[in-house]
């Protein structure tokens, strides 16, 4: 038993690391490849990064994607929080199960279906009301918000369920009206959930290809769409460079967020220890 474990677990570890990081690592390494051929190592060079900075098509698409992701995330947080509030605070009402089911449906719905249904909706809306005129940034944002609000709703709902309802009642009892209670008490307490919901919605929108393809129009090509169309014609080292930059940004964000969360938690623990000690 002991001998078996001595090679089995390390093998699992190595396999895990390999599956997770070898693709990323090879991408990073090849982004510094001097050769134009992706599969042939031609020495170290950073020229693809320089070239990337000169490629206005990619930069424009990246900027557009970031804008769409940001607007989408903000919209999704507002709508998702509203859904979560209704589901946790309104009590039993007619259609509760329906709303709860529909709110989480986009989590399991194939993206192709979501994208197609969105496209059909926009086309018929345009025919009946003349809005939205054609497809572009607006339609992408609406489509993205529709599915990312589901993620926000799930996150915020779980936070609201944990939140002691008597805290809100206490604020009411002390003379604050319901709307004020929400903005002054509930919102600050659930803020961490809103932030993680926002970040999740932002990422979901940033890397979405399928839904964006269905709902975009001329002049609204997002970054994943540019990358996809470029890769179809052959992987260019420029894309490797772009991907490396994206990975770096994400990695830094994760590390920084992790550091701050850990520091906050250890400060909280220390405060609790101190309070207990002071009480004795």
């Amino acid at each position: 038993m002991n001998q078996k474990r001595s090679w089995f677990l390390p093998a699992c570890l190595i396999a895990g690391f390999a599956f997770l990081y070898v693709p990323i690592l090879s991408l990073v390494i090849f982004s510094f490849n001097a050769s134009k051929l992706v599969t042939v190592w031609g020495g170290f060079s950073a020229k693809w990064y320089a070239e990337l900075l000169g490629n206005s098509q990619i930069l424009d698409a990246a900027w557009l994607s970031v804008r769409i992701a940001a607007i989408n995330a903000s919209l999704a947080v507002v709508l998702g929080t509203m859904v979560a509030l209704v589901l946790t605070r309104l009590g039993p009402f007619r259609g509760r199960a329906l709303l709860s089911g529909m709110a989480t449906a986009p989590l399991v719905m194939p993206e192709v279906i979501t994208g197609l249904s969105m496209l059909l909706l926009f086309v018929s809306l345009e025919q009946w009301f003349g809005w939205p005129q054609g497809r572009g940034v607006t339609t992408i944002v609406i489509a993205h918000a529709t599915f990312s609000l589901a993620y926000v709703a799930v996150i915020v709902q779980s936070r609201l369920t944990q939140l002691d309802e008597s805290i809100e009642e206490a604020a009411l009892d002390l003379g604050a009206r319901p709307a004020k209670v929400f903005f002054v008490i509930t919102l600050p307490i659930i803020a961490p959930a809103l932030i993680s919901g926002w970040l999740l919605a932002f990422t979901l929108s940033l890397d979405d290809l399928v839904i964006a393809s269905f709902t975009s129009g001329p002049g609204s090509t997002t970054l994943p769409m540019v990358i996809f169309s470029k890769v179809r014609l052959g992987v260019s080292p420029e894309i490797n460079a772009l991907a490396t930059i994206l990975i770096a940004i994400v990695a830094i964000a994760v590390v920084v967020a992790g550091y701050f969360m850990k520091r906050q938690e250890s400060m909280r623990q220390r405060d609790i220890q101190r309070a207990i000690a002071a009480n004795q």
Partner: protein, 381 residues
Amino acid sequence: MNEARRNDKYVPPWTDPKAEPYVRIEKVTKKFGDFVAVDDVSLNIYKNELFCLLGGSGCGKSTLLRMLAGFEQPTSGSIYLDGVDMAGIPPYNRPVNMMFQSYALFPHMSVEDNVAFGLKQERLAKNEVSKRVNDMLGLVQLAQFAKRKPHQLSGGQRQRVALARALVKQPKLLLLDEPLGALDKKLREQTQFELVNLQDRTGVTFVVVTHDQEEAMTLASRIGVMNQGRIVQVGTPTEIYEFPTTRFVADFIGSVNMFEGRIVDEDNDFVRIGAEDARCTIFINHGVAAAPNSTLWVAIRPEKVNISREPPPDASENCTTGIVQDIAYMGDVSIFNVKLDGGKVVKVTQPNLFRHAEETITWEDRVYLHWHPASGVVLLQ
């Protein structure tokens, strides 16, 4: 208030027919679907009282409290506070504040911001707010913790913040939901007295909900015992303990030995009850308004029963015998479980008056139990 209590001429408002009740609960019923949480409750609470609603879980005491706070509306009946009908007045417009069982402190605000929250809603001037907050924090001895967040406080400190936050608005009525429930035993005893003290000093009328009878006894001016949505008895702690009116109250408050019996002899100033399970005749030195031959119960508190190895001088009445089955030594008192010859187990407590008792009663001893004619309480229901 304290002065008034010491004064011999002090008349408690609930015994004064002319006194105007401060809180008037009239035939209040609350239903949740088919479930009746509060069932036709009428209750008067007077100014400056510390009134305890006592009952087990699910007896409706918390629902009644929440109706006073305005979180629930009565299905029928009305609640008047200081003469004003509270129907339809939302919690944020009531001159009533509540201290929650979980304390419900705002986790993202410091202690002083928590306490100031209620005053800020009244749009008071800034210096007025900070003055009252400081005074209140001083009163609950938390001045040096003003800048701390709730999670940086111990349980007892949090409890005092919650109390300060509710009291600082100077409500007409303060509601406390299990105020000492989350504290450990030592702290609870200390806080009980602080709470009574604070009530005295502020003169605010308190309504406390608790399931802990000891807490209710030490805190309350009067106790309302609740069971299954109804108030079963209202009275001072002494009345509730010594003069329970039903078997439920006698059994719920403290421990009690209950004997079932029938009247065998009676007059205006005494009654003799034949109690099969006590295996003796119980003599009570006052008359009872009961139909002859009806079943009734006699409740005798464990501390009012004497235990001895020798038979008492007059063993014809109020005296029975049995074998000691169990002894629990508690330090200040000892508890004896005595099995009567008929099989019923009677609980007896005796204070341990001497450090070295010459002849202590021990397991398997045959003992005699006897009690004073005034010790038994006759219960008809």
